[in-house]
Amino acid sequence: MQVEATSRPPLLRSLVSSDSTQRLLAFAGLIILIIVFSLASPNFATQQNAVGILLATTINGILALGVTFVIITGGIDLSIGTVMTFSAVMTGVFITNWHWPLLIGVLGGLASGALAGLVNGIVIAKLKVPPFIATLGVLYVAKGLSLIFSDLHPIYFTDTPIFRTFAMGSVVGAVLPNVNIPNAVLVLFAAAIVASFILTRTILGRYTFALGSNEEATRLSGVNVDAWKIGIYTLCGLFAGLGGVVLAARLNSAQPALGQGYELDAIAAVVIGGTSLAGGEGTIIGTIIGAFVLSVLTNGLRILSVPQEWQTVVTGVIVILAVYLDIARRRAVR
């Protein structure tokens, strides 16, 4: 008789495959970056700079939250950058050009983003266009519509000065006068908590993982895969809309030419945070860490007077490194 052992060693497997590994790595990387920059320059570890980093993370962080869902399903959304711009422009159109009440205008801006996401979802789920192509198309459509609705000019929120405080006022500062953390940062963290809740506690979150893990099995289990997919892309669009509104408030204007390239920063943050491009695994906290890795890196290199072009090069290397680690981890499992 012989003993057969077809089972893979479970301990090793769970160690290398648990999605917390990459997240821990990213977190350790973030801490190391902070320590290195603190030692390298006295200007890094200051309260003012910390607030600067927080503020610089908000837009990318919010976009990354939404696209985390899409990436966990095994899809991709390239349109979030220009959809963000589209939402910012529409917010400007609603509030400044059409004189809608502030709150309704903001909701309209959010809805514009969600609408773009809905279009992505329908094209992908119903027309079966691959996500890469579908969202690439919507990228251009949103970019064009932004220019059309804004008539090629920035829209300023001069009539509604209070709109700016939505992002740049400081509720925290009102309570703790020395800590002037802008509201935009609070929006990011609130959005992250909501996203985390949706991802881990709701049906939508469950099907996000199920789709990315095995779409066919999910379908055979009687889940309406198409409808949930559309919902997930719509949610991603909604987050892009929120990014657009916050950006508009922060700049006190809607800049129609901005936005393209933001999607890549957001995807980079998601990937650095340990969400697998192959789908099925990922976390919100990982994405937030990933977003901070990118902004700390940019900020620190700038303080060390590394030229802008080299900052970009370093960012690229970090992204490749993060994805390589993800792949190497996967290969170790197979």
Partner: protein, 511 residues
């Protein structure tokens, strides 16, 4: 006798080009394990997929617990209490056991969109308890062994209150202890009155677990018998009972004694367990066995497509290191995959390009351009030689028939001047006429002194074509037969010889 749960009769099913099921019958009673056996392609899985709502039937009736029903989706099957566990498990590896079991039917907490994780886990635990399974419902499925994943599938099936459980080759990937555990679960379900359909290639298992056996052959119903009333040999002869479909076998010329390829102690994980054999010049060596016996794995290992753990390969008496397919090609070894469309052909490109694809470097001019007149003459030569039916060389490969596609792949390797050709299921998906042309081609190649390995699941084909036949089962070579002594029954016997049996055989031989 117990209540009849399912009665299928007069079932017909046709796929493009294949009449998969002809007037098939099947009956399942409550509290029985009903084994469904037959050769590869006999229609077992198709029959059960019709019952499980995966394929719609073309004609016939399905009566479930006395009522005639239309089963047109997996959902409809579930509603009729029928669940099927497919050979490829349908689980979501990143989710937990509990989440997998209740996917699509999650108990909801507040507001109708929030998950009640606690309740899911509790329900799952209760379900696992009834199956006497010690599994943590919160464990991720990807971390479980195949056997445990199968148990999760069973639990999932039962959570639909299934009274009919269909298992397609459930033991194929399990170890002996795992099989025992599975059988214990199956026996327990049987006592609870569940009807179980057990599709299996492993005949000796049937004696252990089944009450009745239905044999299918070539998409036809052969017979349903009580397990206690028959011997394994009787089942085997029912399985292979057809007369060989064509005229007399054209046995090729005798091979020379020159050894073209020798493989010694090839090992790779659980798929190849110490395989050694010799292939002579001018010989056609048949590799027989059931699906999953490890034949393709051996071919891929020799070809360098998969890494091996240990073993030696000798080409024409010289030991060689083959680390990649390009090494293999340099040694004159070609592998013609069973899946032409995926591995063998650039399906969207024309005949000429496909024909010279492996040898483009030979047709390059000094500055790197392709000498098209030479590629054209070469391609045309082989199109004529192999009598490939194509209107011209510019016809795209995908627009040709399966037989002609296969010939292009053969032509491709002939232009590459390979002496050792490994054919994996060379006639799969090819009509009968084209088949005999491929057979003739193989004979011609052998007569020219090429050494040929032919992997085939069709017994008549192996018997007709091979000088020698090697039979594999579970990664081992379980038998070798010469063309004169080989019969379908003998091959089938070796092909179903599981490791325990082999061990005993050799033990007694040693004594």
């Amino acid at each position: 006798m117990n209540e009849i749960l399912v009665a299928m009769s007069g079932i017909e099913k046709t796929f493009p080009g294949v009449h998969a099921l002809t007037q098939c019958h099947f009956e399942l009673r409550a509290g029985e394990v009903h084994a469904l056996v037959g050769e590869n392609g006999a229609g077992k899985s198709t029959m059960m997929k019709v019952l499980a709502g995966v394929y719609p039937k073309d004609a016939g009736s399905i009566v479930v617990q006395g009522k005639e029903v239309e089963i047109n989706s997996p959902r409809a099957a579930q509603l009729n209490g029928i669940s099927m566990i497919h050979q490829e498990l349908n689980l979501m590896g990143h989710l937990t056991i509990a989440q997998n079991i209740f996917i699509g039917r999650e108990p909801r907490a507040a507001f109708g969109f929030m998950l009640d994780e606690q309740l899911i886990n509790e329900n799952a635990r209760r379900l696992l308890d009834t199956l006497h399974l010690k599994l943590d419902p919160r464990a991720k499925v990807a971390g479980l062994t195949i056997a445990k994943q199968q148990m999760v599938e069973i639990a999932k099936a039962l959570s639909y209150n299934a009274r009919v459980l269909i298992m397609d080759e459930p033991t194929a990937a399990l170890t002996d202890t795992e099989i025992n555990d599975l059988f214990n679960v199956i026996r327990r379900l049987r006592e609870q009155g569940v009807g179980i359909v057990h599709i299996s290639h492993r005949l000796e298992e049937l004696k252990q677990i089944s009450n009745r056996i239905t044999v299918m052959r070539d998409g036809h119903f052969v017979d349903t018998v009580n397990t206690a009333d028959v011997t394994l040999d009787q089942i085997i002869s029912m399985m292979v009972g057809r007369t060989i479909f064509e005229a007399t076998p054209e046995l090729p010329e005798h091979p020379s004694e020159q050894i073209a390829l020798e493989v010694r102690h090839l090992k790779r994980g659980q798929t190849i367990k110490d395989v050694s054999f010799v292939l002579r010049k001018g010989e056609i060596l048949g590799f027989s066995g059931l699906v999953g016996a490890g034949r393709t794995e051996v071919a891929r290992a020799i070809f360098g497509a998969d890494r091996i753990d240990s073993g030696e390969i000798y080409v024409k008496g010289k030991q060689v290191q083959i680390g990649s397919p390009s090494d293999a090609v340099k040694q004159g070894i070609a592998y013609l995959s069973e899946d032409r469309k995926r591995y063998g052909l650039a399906i969207g490109m024309d005949v000429e390009t496909n024909m010279v694809l492996a040898t483009y470097l030979r047709f390059l001019g000094p500055l790197g351009w392709v000498k098209t007149n030479q590629t054209r003459t070469t391609a045309q030569t082989y199109v004529d030689k192999l009598s490939i039916k194509t209107p011209n060389l510019q016809r795209k490969a995908k627009n040709l028939s399966g037989g002609n596609q296969q010939k292009i792949v053969i032509g491709k390797w002939l232009t590459a001047d390979t002496d050792i050709l490994i054919f994996d299921e060379p006639t799969r998906g090819i009509d009968v006429g084209a088949k005999s042309e491929i057979y003739k081609l193989l004979n011609d190649l052998a007569a020219q002194g090429k050494a040929i390995i032919m992997i085939s699941s069709e017994l008549p084909e192996v018997l007709r074509m091979s000088h020698r036949i090697i039979v594999m089962c579970e990664g081992r070579i379980t038998g070798e037969l010469t063309s004169t002594e080989a019969t379908q029954e003998k091959i089938m016997k070796y092909a179903t010889q599981r490791s325990a049996l082999v061990a005993t055989d050799t033990d007694t031989a040693a004594v």
